[in-house]
């Protein structure tokens, strides 16, 4: 038993060491962002390795959600939004003119605070993105739907009733369905904006376990207001305050010995 624990520990340490040497999956260089005249991000530089979970924390209005949405260009829908600097995925600036947003979104999945399944069956919710891509072969769809639901830890609960309306699922199940829907189009990055804030503790725990599992295959950025969730699920943590990335480092270091007083005061609940 002890040997097995040791070997798991060694494996995890090795995985961590490997992750530390892989090329960056995501990066930002000198990013400033504005809504009209208001500057909401200030000179943000961050680099994220593949197969890691990065938590973005900070008080409301600090710019963390704006930062998250830079990676799937969701801010582009806001008329007054503009940005400076580079947002890089796999070494490519995703704001270059040649980049097609639809193609980009295939590789970047997103999960929102409130579960937002379509008023369709469980099956159709997961198959939706695939059908948009023109995939209609039933066998292929069946395979991907099953695989995605297994990956999102929902399969066992819904496999006998895939035709059931998704809105009839519990909140926690709906959120895992949304994760399955995001996974179905095989992204390499998943953005999560407070994915468990509307869920009960058991569902939250399932989502957190899921995040841990998913990082074997995906790079995950997660915005959370729950400090302990950030501590539990992430490898790296970035603390934003007034649009600045105040501190970015290993989650263990941030939560045990932060270098910046503002980080310390925020994570210990003294402001924010």
């Amino acid at each position: 038993m002890i040997m097995r624990i040791e070997s798991i520990k060694n494996y995890k340490m090795q995985e961590q060491a490997n992750a530390e040497t892989r090329p960056y999956k995501l990066a930002t260089r000198n990013v400033n962002a504005y809504y009209g005249n208001k500057k909401v991000l200030q000179d943000v530089n961050m680099q994220v390795r593949p197969n890691t979970v990065t938590a973005l924390i900070g008080p409301s209005g600090c710019g963390k959600s704006t930062f998250l949405r830079l990676f799937n260009r969701m801010n582009d829908y806001i008329d007054t939004f503009r940005k400076e600097g580079e947002i890089i995925i796999n070494g490519i600036d995703i704001y270059r003119k040649k980049i097609k947003i639809e193609e980009l979104r295939k590789t970047i999945g997103m999960v929102f605070q409130k579960p937002n399944p379509f008023p369709k069956s469980i099956y159709e919710n997961v198959a939706y993105g695939l059908r948009i891509q023109g995939i209609n072969n039933k066998t292929t769809l069946d395979e991907i739907v099953e695989k995605s639901l297994i990956q999102s830890a929902l399969w066992e609960e819904v496999k006998d009733d895939l035709k059931k309306n998704a809105l009839a699922l519990s909140g926690g199940q709906q959120q895992r369905l949304c994760i399955a829907r995001a996974l179905a189009v095989e992204p390499s990055v998943i953005l999560m904006d407070e994915p468990a804030s509307a869920l009960d503790p058991v569902s939250t725990s399932k989502i957190e376990d899921l995040i841990y599992e998913l990082k074997q295959h995906y790079t995950i950025l997660i915005v959370t207001h729950n400090m302990h969730q950030a501590g539990r699920v992430s490898d790296k943590t970035g603390f934003f305050y007034l649009g600045e990335l105040v501190e970015f480092g290993d989650t263990k270091q941030i939560f045990t010995n932060p270098k910046n007083n503002k980080t310390e005061n925020y994570i210990s609940g003294r402001f924010g």
């Binding site: 400090m227 045990t256 010995n257 310390e264 003294r270």
Partner: protein, 220 residues
Amino acid sequence: MTLLEIELKQLRQAIIEMMALAKKQLEKSKDAFVNMDTEIAQEIIHTEKRMNAMELSIDRHCENIFALFNPVATDLRFVIAMLKINSDLERIADYADGIADYVIDIDKSFSKDILNAVQMNEMFDIAISMVNDIYVAFDKEDTALARKVFKEDAALNEINANASKVISEFVKETHTLFRSSLYLFSTIRKVERVGDHVKNVAEVIIFYLEAEVLKHKKKK
């Protein structure tokens, strides 16, 4: 002030009170032992019950803070530190209590010569000074003062290392009672252990203030 800060302040106050009481117990154990004063020894034994109750209360307080407030960073290090300091202070008081038990057990005072030869007064004084130093270091959050006890502990260790030789020579020369010599040696050993626990407290104070782990390292 947040609710957590109020809890931490109360915890700090409880530890300060326990440190003061541990120091008092040690001072009394010196008086009781050097003068073979059984009345003071009885006082120590009586107060030991209070020390035990304080230890349990502080343990419970730390447990509640962990469970209810999930402290992080400095707050987390502080609560871990208080838990450890609590245990060390209780052990220090235990040694004072053990010395008081000897005083009641031993029927005859030690001669000044043997006490001088083993540097008993000096040992007690160093140990009391160490407890005082960590008390002030903790109260003022002064890590330089906390570090001072490492040297004092080394002095205690040296006296302790010489004790067996000094006592065996003394027994040979003076034919002193063997049993009381054992009590003397055990008391020296207890005071030396007090120094070890004070050193632990100093390490923990440095850990929570500077996030530096000094345990099992050579002290500077």
